[in-house]
Amino acid sequence: MSRFDWLSELLARFEDEHILVRRGWARRLAPAHLLQIDAEDWGKAAAEAATFGCRWAGLWGEHLEEEIQVNACLVFKGDYLVLRTEVPAGEPLLPSHTPHFPGADRLERHAQDLLGLAFGDHPDERRWTRHLAWQEDEYPLRRDFPVQGHAGGETPPDGEYPFRAVLGSGVYEIPVGPVHAGIIEPGHFRFSAVGERVIRLEQHLGYVHKGIEKIAVGRDAEGVVRLAGRISGDSTVAHAWAACQALERACGVQPPERADFLRALFCERERVANHLGDIGAICNDVGFAFALQQFHRLREIWSRRSGERFGHRMMMDRLVPGGVAVDLDRGAAETLRTDHQALRTELERLYDILTDHPSLEDRLLGTGRLSAETARALGCTGYVGKASGQPCDIRHHSPYAPYQRLEVRPAVREEGDVMARMQVRMEEILESLRLMDELLALLPGGEVRAPFHHPGKACEGLGMVDGWRGEILTYVRLDAEGRLAHFFPRDPSWFTWPALERIQLGNIVPDFPVCNKSVNGSYSGGDL
C-alpha cells in the first residue's frame, strides 16, 4: 500500500461536487498534503470528506494581513491532508464542519472566540474558550490584540454561561465545579438528572486558558518547545516532541537517530507513568483503594527513576529542537532494563488481581459505554478510541522516527466501557515496556543533538505524535527571521471531552467519577 493512493479518488469526488482545488502542495507540510480551496466550498469539502470516511483531526486559523487563513486537518488510512482557505478579516464568514464532523464543534467555537471567525451553520453558537476575561468584540488572536492583553483587573466570575436546560417533571440540575474536592484541574460539569440517572451532561471548560497560542508568537524554536512542554504537564514529553517535529520539518533539520530513540524512550516512559496512575485512580473511584496504593507506588518508583536518570521526574524540557538535552550512559540502559523486568513481574500479579475481581468487574463492566460509531464520529484517538474499536495509533499507522524500526501493536477492544479503557491501558503498559526494551537494544550511538538552523525564509511544519492520551497534532509557522508566527498544539482531549458527555448518558450520577477518570481528558491541554 502506498501513501496517499486514495487522494486522487477524493479529488475526483471534489470535482464532481464542483469543489475547486486552487493549489496543492505535497512537500510544504510533509508528510501531510496541503490543498487550498475556496471559502464557499469549505462545508461541501467536509461533507465529501465525511462520506469518504476521513477522520477530522483539527482546525486552526491565523490572522495574516487582511485575511484570516483557516486550516482543517483530515486523516485517512494514516495519511494527513490539510485543507486551507482564506476569509477576509473584515467579514470572516465560513461554513461549519460540525454538521459533518461532530468533533469539530469545540475547536470551531474556540476559533470563533479567539479569532472572530463566524461559522454559518454551526449548530451551537455559544462561546467556548471565552469566559469574561476579555470583551465581546475583542479577539485575542487578531494581530492588533496586544500579547500582554488589556489590564482589566480581576476577571469577573463567569456565572452567566447559557447551559441548555432540560425540562420535564422530576428533572433537576447538579452543578459540579469548577473547583473540585480533589486536587485536579478546574472545569464545570452540569448534570441534568432524573433520580440518579443522568439524561444530559454538559461541560463548560476553559478555566485554565493561558493564551498559549498568543504568547508563543515571537519566540525562537527553543522557546516554543519549552512552552509546548507546559501545555499539559502530564504530556510534557509528547507535546514537546510534536513541537520539535513540526519545527524540524519546517526548517528541514534532521535530528540524530540516537535522539529519535531517546525521544521515543521518554515518550513511552511518560505513557507508562500516566497509565499506571490512571489504573490506580480508576479503581480508587469505585472504592478499591488497594489498587490505588499499589499502582501509585509503582508510578512513584518509575518517576523517581526518571528523575534520577534524566534529571526531571516528568522529563520536562528534555527535548530540544534538533535533539534531546540529556544522553543515556551505558550503565543506565542496564538499570532501565532491570526496571522494566521488575515492573513486569509486579504487574503480572496485580493484573491477576484486577482481572479476577468480581466486585471490581461489577462496577467497571458495562459502565460508561462509548459506541464505536460515536468514537469514530468524534475522532477519538488513544485509549478512548482504542477501547471503542478505533485502532488509530499513529506509531503503527503512520510511523515516525524511530517507530518505523519497531512494530507497534495497538491494543484494541470493542466493548467501549470503563473496563475496556482500563484494559487498553494495561496492555499498553506492557507494549511500552517491550518497545522500550527494543529501543534500548537498538539504540544507535553518536550525537544526541543536531544544530538547529532556520532556512532564512518563512516556513511551516506539522508534527504528529502519539502521546499517552492519543494523537497530538502541532502546527508551527516561522517568519523569515526564524521567529514563531503561529503555533497551534491540538491535544487529543479536544475529542475525548465530548466523548465523556456521551459516555455519561444513561449512567447514574455516582458513576461519573469513574467514567471521567477512565477518559481522563486534559483540561489544560484543551483550554490552551
Binding site: I174, E196, C283, F288, P510, P513
Partner: protein, 321 residues
C-alpha cells in the same frame, strides 16, 4: 438494690457512657490504620481522629447564608441522639440501672431521630450534594431499618425481651449453643451495620468524590465544631454497631457485677472482641470495591432476607424447646 449500689451503678453508667464517647474515635482511627497497613501504607496513627476532632473544635464555624436554624441545631441533635442510643447498650456490664431503658426499639428510635436530622441538615443549605446525600441516605435507611428490626425481633423472641441487657444475660445463661436463628440474625445485622455506618461496599468513608458520597455529602457544608460533632457522631455509631454485634451475640466476658476485677475483665474482653471485629471489617473493606448505588437495595434485601430466615428458623426449630 441498696442506695449505695444504686448510686455507684449510676456512676458506672455515666462512666460507661463517657468511655463509649471517648473510645469511639479510637475505633475509627484503628480501622483506618489497619486498612492502611493492609494496603502496604504506613498510615496515620490510630489516634489521628482525636487530633482531627481537637482541631475541628478549635476552628471557626462557617454557616451558609441559606442555612436555617435546623442546620445549626442538627449537629447537637445528631450527636445527642446517637449518644443516647449508645447509652442503651451494655458496654462493660449488664447490670446497670440504665438497663431498665436499654430497649432495642428505643435505640433504633434514637438512631432514626439522628438520621432524620442529618438528612434534614443535608438538604437545608440547598446545595445539590446535600440533597443527593440525603436522598441516598433515606434510600439506604428505608431498607436497613426493617432488616435491623427483623434481626432484633429474632433475638427478642428467643430471649422473650427487647431489652438489650436482658438478651445479653439470657445468652450468657444459655451458654454457647449454636442457634441457627442467631446466626442468621447476626449475618443480617452485620450487613445492616455496614450499610448504616457508611462503610464499603455501600458507602466509602475515605472518598473525596462528592458525586459518589452518601454520608459525607450530607455533612459537606459543615465546618468547625459542627463538623466535629457530626464526625464524632458517625464514629459513635460505628462503635455502637460494633458493640451491639459483639455484646449481644457474643457477650462472654461482660461483667455481671460491679467488682473492679469483673469490670476490668469486661473491658479486656470487649477490646479483644472489637479488635477481631475491626480486623474483619478492615479486610473486607480492602478486598471489596464499592457497590454501584443501585445495588445497595439488593444488599439490604439480603440483610432483610437473612433476618427473616432467622425469625423463621426460630419459629420452626427453636420455639418448641
Amino acid at each position: 438494690m441498696s442506695t449505695l449500689s444504686n448510686f455507684s451503678g449510676w456512676l458506672l453508667a455515666l462512666f460507661q457512657l463517657a468511655l463509649f464517647a471517648m473510645a469511639a474515635p479510637l475505633l475509627a482511627g484503628w480501622i483506618k490504620w489497619l486498612k492502611a497497613r493492609l494496603q502496604n501504607r504506613r498510615g496515620s496513627s490510630p489516634l489521628q481522629p482525636y487530633r482531627d476532632l481537637h482541631k475541628l473544635f478549635g476552628k471557626e464555624v462557617l454557616v451558609a447564608e441559606t442555612a436555617s436554624a435546623v442546620f445549626r441545631a442538627a449537629p447537637y441533635i445528631v450527636f445527642g441522639a446517637t449518644l443516647l442510643a449508645a447509652a442503651s447498650l451494655p458496654l462493660l456490664t449488664v447490670k446497670l440501672p440504665t438497663a431498665a431503658i436499654a430497649d432495642m426499639i428505643v435505640m433504633v428510635g434514637f438512631l432514626a431521630l439522628a438520621r432524620f436530622f442529618l438528612a434534614l441538615a443535608g438538604m437545608d443549605t440547598g446545595s445539590a450534594f446535600g440533597g443527593m446525600g440525603a436522598s441516598r441516605e433515606m434510600l439506604v435507611s428505608a431498607l436497613a431499618e426493617p432488616a435491623m428490626l427483623m434481626a432484633i425481633f429474632t433475638l427478642a423472641m428467643s430471649a422473650h425481651s427487647t431489652n438489650l441487657s436482658s438478651i445479653s444475660s439470657w445468652v450468657l445463661n444459655e451458654g454457647a449453643i449454636l442457634r441457627p436463628s442467631f446466626m442468621f440474625a447476626l449475618l443480617g445485622l452485620a450487613l445492616v451495620a455496614v450499610a448504616e455506618t457508611g462503610r464499603i461496599p455501600v458507602d466509602n468513608p475515605d472518598t473525596h468524590l462528592e458525586l459518589t458520597m452518601i454520608h459525607e455529602a450530607m455533612i459537606l457544608e459543615y465546618s468547625g465544631r459542627h463538623l466535629a460533632l457530626m464526625e464524632w457522631a458517625a464514629q459513635l455509631k460505628l462503635l455502637l454497631y460494633g458493640v451491639l454485634v459483639v455484646n449481644v451475640f457474643f457477650p462472654w466476658g461482660i461483667a455481671e457485677s460491679f467488682a473492679p476485677g469483673a469490670l476490668a475483665l469486661g473491658l479486656a474482653a470487649l477490646t479483644a472482641k472489637l479488635l477481631l471485629l475491626s480486623m474483619i471489617l478492615a479486610v473486607s473493606e480492602t478486598v471489596l470495591a464499592k457497590m454501584r448505588l443501585f445495588r445497595a437495595p439488593q444488599f439490604l434485601n439480603l440483610a432483610f432476607l437473612l433476618a427473616v430466615l432467622g425469625l423463621l428458623s426460630f419459629v420452626i426449630l427453636e420455639s418448641g424447646t
